[in-house]
């Protein structure tokens, strides 16, 4: 039997590499998002061409970010996608239910400010992270 160190490509190595890739693309996406949002106001004063380029870069990086996540999920072992799917389902449910209620709050005049999508995105991110942590704790 081969020793552990001689095994060709260890699962946790691949998993860690994919994790690093997702992290890098996440950071890149946030940076390009900030560039598209604030660069337009601060750096090029709403000039059309740089604004379009900024948005296209953001979309392209976002596309590669999604591909990195898909690659990570495809390389997971059989328990991890179950945890991921549970977290994704919880996030979708929380996003839809809370998003619609949040929007309704303004319509029925319970809040005076305009509901913002970033608030919902933040809630969904926190829900996803908490669900994944709880999922891993459940099988620890």
């Amino acid at each position: 039997m081969k020793q552990v160190d001689e095994l060709p490509m260890r699962f946790k190595t691949v998993d860690a590499e994919n994790g690093r890739s997702v992290k890098a693309w996440t950071i890149a996406w946030v940076v390009t998002c900030a560039l598209a949002a604030f660069g337009t106001r601060i750096l090029w004063d709403f000039a059309t061409i740089p604004t379009i380029v900024g948005v296209l870069i953001n979309l392209t990086v976002g596309f590669f970010w999604v591909l990195a996540i898909v690659k990570q999920v495809n390389a997971m072992d059989e328990l991890q996608p179950e945890i991921f799917l549970d977290a994704a389902a919880t996030t979708l449910g929380v996003g839809v239910v809370c998003g619609l209620s949040y929007e309704l709050l303004e319509d029925i005049r319970l809040i005076s400010f305009q509901p913002e999508i970033p608030h919902l995105v933040l809630l969904m991110c926190l829900t996803f992270m908490a669900s994944r942590i709880l999922g891993y704790r459940r099988y620890r």
Binding site: V4, D15, D77, E78, L79, Y136, Y139, R140
Partner: protein, 65 residues
Amino acid sequence: MKNRLKVLRAERDWTQAQLADRLAVSRQTVNALETGKFDPSLPLAFKAARLFALSIEDIFQDDAQ
């Protein structure tokens, strides 16, 4: 589903991480299998059977049996 993974691993003096490496899964998966919180897929059951040179039935038993 019950299984003898923990016993078989202990007989070979392997850690959960070493068994995980040999089965190409995460250590959490090995732990979840050993504690009966998670049932393996058929390919993973075959892989475990090959690794321990046993039949699947020698490693995994249905709770109803």
